[in-house]
């Protein structure tokens, strides 16, 4: 993706900013301005908490161009607490340990980089929810 395309998505990539439907209250991510549930306008920004659980997952061993250096890496559909599914990589986890239903939370990580002189693209990934330290 080109630099302007990435720049336009900063609020989604770094903060999971979506929208909420004025009419039926559905929470939307990605933002789309028209509610897919009731087809009414949905312009109001909505901040997602970044918590959810793994709905499905896979592990890539044949990565597309630009991502080969990271393989194998896990990708998931994450069901956010507020409703929507989001496609994202899982991080800080052994791919062997990923399970459907596993609680996860959003973190900001590097997604890819465009060669030595190009843009470094940051965005959301999800990691297993950290448990409070036993002797906290």
């Amino acid at each position: 993706m080109a630099i302007p395309q990435n720049w336009r998505l900063q609020h989604q990539r770094y903060r999971l900013t979506g929208e909420v439907c004025h009419t039926c209250g559905a929470k939307l991510f990605p933002p789309r301005d028209v509610c897919p549930e009731c087809a009414k306008p949905a312009y109001e920004p909505f901040q997602f908490a970044g918590k959810g659980e793994v709905y499905s997952f896979t592990v890539l061993s044949d990565a597309p161009a630009g991502y080969e250096a990271y393989e194998p890496y896990p990708v998931a559909l994450v069901k956010l607490q507020e409703g929507p599914l989001v496609t994202a990589q899982l991080t800080d986890v052994d791919p062997q340990d990923v399970r459907i239903g596993m609680p996860v939370e959003m973190v900001t990580r590097k997604l890819t980089e465009d060669g030595d002189d190009g843009l470094i693209v940051y965005g959301y990934k999800f990691r297993p929810v950290l448990k409070a330290a036993a002797n906290g």
Binding site: Q5, P30, S56, L60, P64, A65, V75, T87, A88
Partner: protein, 385 residues
């Protein structure tokens, strides 16, 4: 609206055509279809193709191919709907002839995928998905389908091995198709031992990257009957859409565009699933075959996989699928696939399918899927007479 028939078919062998360019492949298929139809001119040429810009550095295929096959001057345009491009182009040809505005339309689907190295082709195919919210996260097209397969196995308590019947059936049928890429049967052991691509999808769950072209000639049925006794009528044609991204679907395990396009085609044809003698479905991955059977009304939800297990998809089964090898074994040159499906259905309905013949085939259905289910085009064809 006029009735529309297919009066000519042509196809190239599917495979790695190192010595042939995109225009040569398309030209071979178009000229074969024109010879089969016995025509020298046409009113229009529609080209189904997904990735010529990305993989071959070439767009503007309508004019390019029309000129190359000696049709300079005709209306010509490329039609793109990811892996559904081929059937989407057939549907445009159908609309043009049915409307009465054009009489003879040639539709060619073509894809030349081996000009680039694997990772570039993989990235190109991912363009069928949402660039901003799926692809940037490092997904490949295979991995989107793996997400569906993993969830399917989880929800319905299905094992990976239960899907083996799909590739085994596809390879068995491809073995006797001279145009197929993989003309040899595979065993359950081969399926189980295949290299993992994106868990749980392994190499034997996946259709191959390939080069190929297929073409059909469309004409009004009234004219067709006069000079092509083996013409086949299009009795249902429908294109329906869903969200581009899997995560935007209310229920990712139900291909709602496939259901919608099948229902529209059934309604137009005045038939239901029980009247269909064979079904050329879009087995890009074995999970896609299971989901298509469910969406098109041949199995209850979560039961599509058992049609393969119980042998009901074989040539002599209740609903034969992939009768010439399907995407898995005939091969999947993406923008050409939808036209291959129609060419194969015509061979069945002309009763010229040789060892692949479905006995007494009168009505065949084809379904071509773009992306992970975002564009789905269904056609229902009937033998004349």
């Amino acid at each position: 609206m006029r009735d529309v028939s297919i009066i000519g078919i042509g196809q190239t062998e599917v495979g790695e055509h190192w010595g042939k360019s995109l225009r040569h492949l398309a030209g071979d298929a178009v000229l074969a279809a024109m010879r089969d139809a016995g025509i020298e001119r046409a009113d229009a040429l529609y080209v189904g193709n997904m990735l010529s810009g990305e993989l071959n550095g070439q767009e503007h295929l309508g004019a390019l191919i029309a000129d190359f096959v000696g049709l300079r001057g005709v209306e010509a345009v490329k039609i793109e709907a990811a892996c559904g491009s081929g059937a989407a182009a057939v549907r445009m040809g159908y609309l043009a002839v049915a409307s009465g505005l054009l009489d003879v339309v040639i539709v060619v689907g073509v894809e030349k995928m081996t000009d680039q190295k694997g990772a570039v082709t993989t990235a190109g195919l991912a363009m069928a998905a949402d660039a901003e919210y799926e692809v940037v996260n490092g997904i490949s097209f295979v991995s989107l389908n793996a997400l569906l397969m993993q969830r399917y196995m989880h929800e319905y308590g299905v094992q990976h091995e239960d899907f083996a019947g799909f590739p085994i059936n596809a390879h068995k049928n491809a073995a006797t198709n001279p145009y197929a890429m993989f003309r040899k049967p595979i065993s359950l052991e081969t399926f189980k031992r295949a290299r993992m691509v994106a868990a749980p999808i392994n190499l034997m769950d996946s259709s191959p990257v390939a080069d190929g072209a297929a073409a059909v000639v469309l004409a009004p049925s009234e004219v067709a009957r006069r000079f092509q006794p083996a013409s086949v009528r299009i009795i249902g044609s429908a294109n329906a859409t869903d969200s581009l991204a899997v995560h935007d679907r209310r229920d990712p395990l139900f291909l709602s565009a496939a259901a919608l396009s099948a229902q529209k085609a059934y309604r137009q044809a005045g038939i239901g699933p029980n009247d269909v003698d064979f079904f050329e479905l879009h087995d890009a991955f074995s999970i896609t075959a299971a989901l298509s059977l469910e969406a098109a009304g041949f199995a209850e939800r979560g039961r599509g996989v058992y049609l393969a297990k119980d042998g009901e998809i074989a040539l002599d089964g209740r609903i034969p699928i992939c009768t010439f090898g399907g995407l898995k074994a005939r091969g999947h040159p993406v923008g050409a696939t939808g036209v291959y499906q129609i060419v194969e259905a015509v061979l069945q309905l002309r009763h010229l399918a040789g060892p692949n013949q479905v006995k007494n085939a009168r009505i065949g259905m084809t379904q071509n899927i773009g992306g992970s289910g975002a564009t789905v085009i269904t056609h229902i064809l009937a033998a004349e007479g």
